[in-house]
Amino acid sequence: MGLREIVFNNLRRRKGKMFLLVTGITIGITTVVTLFSLTMAMNDKMLKDFKEAGTKVIITPQSENTSFSFGGITMAANITFDVKEMPSNVVNILKNKVQDLNIKYIAPKKIIGVKINQQPSLLVGVDFKNELYTKPWLKIAGKLPESDTEIILGSSSAKFLKKKLGDTLKVNDREFRVVGILHETGGQEDEIIMASLKLVENLSGSTNLSLVELIIENESDVENIKALLPGVKVTPVKEAMKSRKEVIQRYEYFAILVSFVILIIAVLIVLTTMMGSVNERVKEIGIFRAIGFRKSHIMKIIMLETSITCALGGLIGYLSGVLVAKSTVIFIEQKGLFIQWHPLLGIIMIMGSIFIGLLASWFPATKAANLDPQEALRHL
């Protein structure tokens, strides 16, 4: 038998004594593990989502001129609605590199100034199939244009022009049929008048493009695209990722703050419990000292006892924290959030609990070691 067996036997045969301590640590660690499991799951999901969605890249002509924005994208233009353009072979160059650059979609656009009811307006020519892939949130009442005489309108444009599905609209003295109206998005798509790219090319007599939107799998390929297309401006769009990252980061800060508060509370709980325990065991400690235990042996006993208890609380807390996080995800019906068993988190929690135990029991252990054995034994 050694000091360790003394401690084990004490914990084993007086389970009730340490119940409060184990419970306290367990509750604390459960909270911390739940919070961190959830934020880690959110992070995982975000990375997965962005990996699946890919990175959006905007290709525009180089320009130092005034710019205006379209669909949240700032575009080069001169003042007279004469949108700056780039040659259409940009698309061909990209199409040849679809494999190398992991390009998922190429959505070219041509924007021209037109006259509708004598009013200058913008007509946007798109490749509908790819356009809808890059903007999956767009919903259309009616259908996509199939011939060169069909166009679709944004919801505000339709209202402004007083057009319904099936009405005709005069653009530069040519008549077109409105075959689709976009659902309201609250964005700039509401103002749009959209036709097929081919139609816009015909109207303008040029195949030059105003803008190409790309979806690529890996953000790292942006530099390769820049190198591939030296004459144009290549801009990755990161805003969405950034703002979601910020939200998750706020959760993380919250988790860290809560953990810190719990650490302090845990230290106080351990400290008071162990002080009580030492006061209760004055006699026992006196006996240990009388039969020849050194002060350091007494300290070891108290600190070992505390750290074993805290480690147990840490282990149970980790297990229950993950389970609580798992049931939280089920409860709030967050699909795609997957709570993982992170063994490293478990190890950190157990080590952290031991650290709390050692930190908080240092003072009670010192007190126990410095008890006057004669004084302790006097009250036998």
Partner: protein, 222 residues
């Protein structure tokens, strides 16, 4: 041969009021003696025993055991000294409630560098010696008062100490069981242990070599 020598040992407890528990106590104990310490309650017997047990430094005076000035040792060395030289039998025996008889007996060996098997063998052998060979794994509350006394005696001798110190070991026992414990001490004394025992019971005195009477912190030679 002189084993223990107390020279002008005084102890003053400073608290709300000063208590002079021992006043210039001088005596010697030879190796192999069985000494009783008697006196009225509050006369300083326990204080004297705790000083002899190197648990309580005297306010003045000197204690020499086996030619070692024990209170000049460092605190940790005093603990080592107790472990090597002394065996305690406390009032009410003071077994550790969460340890079995065998574990209680092994307690003084817990911090020594012996192998597990040796510690166990030593504890088993002394428990058998005190007649508890069949109760190794009982917890203290599962033992009678007399049996607890025997475990306490076994615990005091497991480290083969030169000196056994006992503070009213029969105080909580009926006469018959008390006598059994005294018998045990006599056997240990015959086997060579020097024993100092505080007692109230005059009947015990017929078994000892010598009695030191204490009154008001002084040795009373009458």
């Amino acid at each position: 041969m002189t084993l223990i020598e107390a020279r002008d040992v005084s102890k003053v407890y400073k608290g709300e009021s000063e208590v002079k528990a021992l006043d210039k106590v001088t005596f010697q104990v030879n190796e192999g003696e069985f000494v009783a310490i008697m006196g009225p309650s509050g006369s300083g017997k326990s204080t004297l025993l705790s000083i002899l047990g190197v648990l309580n430094p005297p306010t003045s005076g000197e204690l020499i055991i086996d030619e070692i000035k024990v209170f000049e040792l460092s605190n940790e060395k005093q603990a080592d000294f107790r472990r090597e030289y002394l065996g305690f039998v406390f009032q009410q025996f003071q077994l550790i409630p969460y340890l079995t008889a065998l574990e209680n007996v092994m307690l003084p060996l817990a911090v020594s560098k012996m192998s597990k098997q040796k510690k166990r063998a030593a504890a088993e052998s002394v428990l058998e010696k005190v007649g508890l060979g069949n109760k190794f794994h009982r917890l203290p509350h599962q033992l009678s008062g007399g049996e607890q006394g025997r475990v306490a005696v076994a615990r005091a001798i497991v480290n083969e100490p030169l000196i056994i110190l006992a503070d009213e070991p029969t105080g909580s026992l009926d006469t018959k069981t008390g006598l059994e414990i005294i018998e045990l001490f006599r056997e240990l004394n015959k086997a060579g242990h020097t024993i100092l025992m505080v007692t109230h019971n005059t009947e015990n005195l017929q078994h000892v070599n010598r009695t030191i009477f204490i009154r008001d912190g002084r040795i009373d030679n009458n």
